[in-house]
């Protein structure tokens, strides 16, 4: 019976045949638009690819860079990619830059690619700062002001208040994505807090947990960070942890492997990571990306346009670029 063979062959051939007839045509939509113009000296040309990690700030940085550089006559592509997978792409030059790296979560990548292999270049700070910390909903803080500091969490009453089925007689501390830097288990241990870490496993799980807590008006103590879109939606209050000591700084330098971390989280100065290959490939674009720097406020404006006014991220970036020429003109010089 020949049909089976033909069928199998057919499937194989179909894939290759499609390839063949496709090679003659250009993609009708490549997801990028090229706008030439801008006048003046044609400093900027060629094409670069920027990484977009799965959060709004990252998308805002890339969109603003894209709007400005395309106005100068460049082609800028963006690539949605996981924040960990992006390092290998920066290393090989497939992606030219990642404009928002939270250094606390990537100590090992920074050491491997920037310090040792030197295939990725530290592009300096992007401006906005990240804050990781412990949070509670505002309604919890209002009902129990004592839980706004770590001292207040020491009691058995606190444990009972925050307890869930998962943690039994201890209070629950909810963690999100396991790849984000977290000293929480050590903080809890070293400060003798009657709490237990439950790993949500992902950011979506964490925010859903927060959402449920607000809907049910149930207590919740959790790991969270700014900037993050959910901060605008839910009224959150920081829990005060002990001030940072030299011992904690030393412990953090070793990714908390010594198990001695017992302080507040250090501020994350968000940085840019640029592929070393871009320096020789497109020095002007490299220098632009290195100079690019804005503020928490600028970035929040763009993400607000997107989340509250329902604009696309590109339109939001365009609106910011139109309104703030003085800020970004400095990046071009």
């Amino acid at each position: 019976m020949k049909r089976s063979r033909r069928l199998i062959l057919g499937t194989v051939v179909l894939a290759f045949a499609l390839s063949a007839c496709g090679s003659s045509s250009k993609p009708s939509s490549s997801g990028t638009t090229t706008t030439t113009g801008g006048g003046g000296a044609k400093k900027f040309s060629g094409s670069i690819t920027l990484a977009v990690n799965p959060w709004d700030g990252s998308a805002a940085n890339a969109a603003v860079a894209k709007v400005i550089l395309e106005k100068q006559g460049m082609t800028v592509k963006t690539k949605d990619i996981d924040e960990n997978a992006v390092w290998a792409a920066l290393d090989s030059g497939t992606i030219d830059a990642n404009l928002e790296v939270w250094p606390s979560g990537h100590a090992k990548d920074i050491e491997t690619y920037i310090t040792t292999k030197k295939s990725v270049i530290d592009g300096g700070l992007i401006g906005p700062t990240g804050h990781i910390g412990w949070f509670i909903p505002k309604f919890v803080a209002d009902a129990h002001p004592e839980y706004k500091t770590w001292d207040g969490l020491k009691t058995a009453a606190a444990a009972k208040y925050f307890a869930t089925a998962e943690t039994g007689d201890k209070g629950q501390f909810l963690l999100g994505d396991p790849s984000y830097v977290s000293y929480d288990a050590d903080i809890i241990k070293n400060l003798n807090l009657p709490f237990k870490v439950v790993t949500g496993g992902g950011e979506a799980a964490l925010i859903t947990g927060i959402d449920t807590a607000f809907k049910d008006q149930k207590p919740l103590l959790f790991y969270f960070y700014t900037p993050q879109w959910a901060n605008a939606k839910y009224d959150l209050v920081t829990v005060k942890l002990p001030d940072i000591t030299p011992a904690c700084t030393a412990s953090a330098a070793g990714q908390g492997k010594d198990g001695k971390y017992s302080c507040d989280y250090p501020t994350d100065h968000l940085m840019k990571a640029i592929s070393a290959k871009l320096q020789s490939k497109n020095a002007n674009a490299f220098s632009f990306l290195e100079k690019m720097k804005w503020t928490d406020n600028d970035q929040n404006t763009v993400t607000k346009y997107k989340n509250e006014d329902g604009m696309t991220i590109d339109a939001a970036a365009q609106k910011w670029v139109d309104a703030n020429p003085t800020v970004w003109q400095a990046w071009l010089s």
Binding site: K2, S4, I8, C21, D80, P178, T199, A205, T212
Partner: protein, 673 residues
């Protein structure tokens, strides 16, 4: 029947041997975790990773090995994508309809055409084309590798035996474990996604091919030999044609499994529908994720109709009626229709799918999710609500089992499992279980939560057991009903299909919303994914009972209930046991997903290890998952083999590993055959 005496022997020997062993070990070790040996797999993997990072880009292995392969894969996908863009959406619909009509008949063609249209109407045409291009390339490669290897493994039992563990590992090892390493070797984008898909889907293709060929009756082969056929001739003229249903099934399975990688492929920059699902998840926008998930189901339907082939009887009629002239006319008409459609598409809005056609379920889905969260969590009469169900499961099911398993010392667990396997499944299975668990004791990477791999393995095992029990409790009654009522089964079949192809990421958010972050949402996700094979195999078992047997029971005055409990269920037991086996493997294959919603343990270890560049931990956790699969799979398979039943004696001689993971199309085919 075993006599009491031989039963005594059967029980006494293993018990005595293992008890002696246990007493011996008890004297030596009181530590719950084995500390005497360390296979150092994790550190070894870490050093390999470091070497790769430092040498990628300049070493010859990358220059002349991985990089050209990656470029080739990328171009292949890009070409397919360009072709899909070139033919425009009216062209694609027509092409799909024409090909499906030729391959699978008119009805299938209409379904496929509608499915393509729905993809456009969901507003995800562009990403869907990326996914389709990825699928075409991956599936083509899987078949190009899988068919020859399958033939080889059918002809050389030794090859089959030796590759068995490797194929098992490829199927159960979470795709996460090799996706990110693939990035180091093949860079980001399409190539690592294609490679990961090939790894995941290849075993099914090999096994179904080999199974199909070995299912060819010996007498047919003898006829061939008697007529002087060379081995090549008997392969091409006898084995392959006779094995056609199994081979088609292999293609089908391959496609469905390949679609399972779509979402995580987006993590490494492969874009497509997976990216849409992730983007929805990022803002807890279930509606957006659901639209994309629905499009993935539609892609599965399209590809299924393109490759399923006609049902046996229709195929025979089709061949009889088909004259060469008619074939030529059909070909011309088909090509003509596609060309016209492409021209129409080119003229009309340059081939982009019109945005005015909108089937999006975004808003209704989001409203439904909000309603469920507001109304089902609390205050439901009698049961209280999903919140209290969740708490009950944790306190009364999960905690006791986990505590029991983690508080035993490692050798207590191993001896217990080995004894159980020896008594119920025989010596060989017992040995396999013991070895698998001993391997786990030698894994010593630091778990993400500071626990050891062994403790996390026991934690995961407790969750797997609970998920399996819940799945079977739900699957049995539904399966029995589906076995009795043809109409009911026809009604739930599309739902079962959708449950398996719809990515779990789509329903994670509502599930967490209902059941609070923790182990329960993970278990719910596993149950949703694992229910279909349990239901199908139970239904199959019931339906496979020969009508004569039921008739005989009825004529001797048995009531319907008696027929069910005394005749149908006992005879369906073997099939149900296979359902149990499948359920376990399905649950194990979503351990990582469960980790993403609060399941912790091995699932989180895998995610943590791979995202934190601690590959060693991720791989060790992956190996532990494979070890659990070996133990549970071998044991339940042996149980199934030991049970008498029609399913085993007549049509379903399939070794269950052939049909594992993902789809149960085989069952459908058997049912319609």
């Amino acid at each position: 029947m075993t006599s009491p005496r031989s039963l005594l022997v059967r029980l006494a020997v293993p018990t005595a041997v293992i008890a002696a062993f246990a007493v011996l070990l008890a004297g030596v070790w009181g530590n719950p975790i084995a500390t005497w040996w360390n296979f150092r797999i994790g550190p070894w993997i870490d050093s390999v990773e470091e070497w790769i990072i430092l040498h990628r880009g300049n070493h010859w292995l990358f220059r002349w090995g991985f990089e050209p392969i990656a470029r080739w894969l990328h171009n292949l996908v890009q070409w397919d994508l360009n072709a899909l863009h070139f033919i425009t959406w009216p062209g694609l619909i027509t092409l799909v309809v024409v090909v499906a009509a030729r391959v699978s008949g008119i009805r299938a063609a209409l379904t496929a055409g509608v499915a393509v249209f729905v993809i456009g109407g969901l507003g995800v045409w562009e990403p869907a084309m990326v996914t389709v291009a990825l699928m075409l390339v991956s599936v083509a490669i899987v078949l190009a590798l899988g068919l020859p290897l399958g033939i080889l493994s059918a002809r050389r039992p030794a090859f089959e035996r030796r590759t068995r563990v490797v194929l098992d590992a490829m199927q159960v090892m979470p795709a996460f474990c090799y996706l990110l390493p693939c990035v180091l070797l093949f860079d980001i984008g399409y190539p690592p996604a294609v490679v990961a898909t090939v790894i995941f889907a290849l075993p099914a293709a090999i096994r179904l091919t080999s199974h199909g060929l070995r299912g060819v009756p010996d007498r047919l082969m003898e006829v061939g030999t008697a007529h002087g056929a060379t081995p090549r001739q008997s392969l091409l003229k006898i084995q392959l044609p006779v094995a056609r249903p199994a081979l088609l099934l292999g293609i089908n399975q391959t496609i469905n499994l390949a679609l399972g990688i779509v979402v995580i492929a987006a993590l490494v920059g492969a874009e497509g529908l997976g990216q849409e699902v992730l983007a929805g998840l990022q803002h807890l926008d279930v509606g957006q994720a659901f639209d994309a998930g629905l499009a993935i189901v539609a892609v599965a339907i399209v590809l299924d109709r393109l490759t399923a082939g006609r049902p046996l009887r229709a195929a025979r009629k089709f061949r009889r009626d088909r004259t060469p002239e008619r074939a030529r006319i059909e070909l011309l008409a088909g090509v003509g229709a596609v060309v016209i459609a492409i021209i129409v598409g080119k003229l009309w809005s340059s081939g982009a799918f019109p945005t005015s056609i909108d089937f999006s379920l975004h808003d209704p889905v989001n409203r439904l999710v909000a309603w469920c969260r507001d109304n089902l969590r609390n205050g439901v009469p009698i049961i209280g609500g999903t919140g209290s169900i969740s708490d009950f499961t944790v306190i009364h099911l999960l905690d006791p089992i986990r505590d029991f398993l983690t508080q035993r010392t490692w050798w207590e667990v191993i001896c217990g499992v080995t004894a159980l396997a020896w008594i119920t499944a025989g010596r060989r299975v017992a040995a396999a279980c013991a070895i698998a668990l001993l391997v786990v004791t030698g894994l010593h990477a630091d778990g993400s939560a500071g626990g050891s791999i062994w403790v996390d393995t026991m934690d995961t095992l407790s969750q797997v057991l609970v998920a399996v029990v819940i799945s079977m409790v739900i699957a049995l009654p539904i399966g029995i009903w589906a076995g009795i009522s043809e109409r009911f089964y026809a009604a739930i079949r599309p739902l079962l299909d959708a449950m398996q192809v719809m990515p779990a990421f789509v329903y994670l958010v509502p599930v967490i919303g209902l059941f609070s972050v923790g182990r329960v949402p993970g278990i719910i996700a596993s149950v949703v994914y694992a229910l279909p094979p349990g239901i199908r195999l139970t239904a199959l078992g019931i339906r496979e009972v020969p009508p004569e047997t039921i008739e005989a029971a009825r004529s001797s005055g048995a009531t319907k209930f008696q027929i069910l409990t005394k005749v149908q269920l006992p005879l369906a037991l073997r099939s149900i046991m296979l359902g149990l086996n499948q359920t376990i493997l399905m649950v194990l294959s979503v351990v990582v997903i469960a980790g993403l919603v609060g399941g912790g343990a091995l699932g989180v270890d895998v995610v943590y290890g791979l995202t934190k560049s601690e590959l060693g931990l991720g791989v060790e956790a992956g190996i532990a998952i494979v070890a659990l699969a070996v133990v549970l799979d071998r044991m339940t398979q042996a149980w199934a083999a030991g049970v008498r039943g029609v399913a085993g004696s007549t049509r379903l001689r399939t070794p269950p590993r052939v049909i594992r993971v993902g789809k149960t199309k085989l069952l459908d085919q058997l049912e319609t055959a």
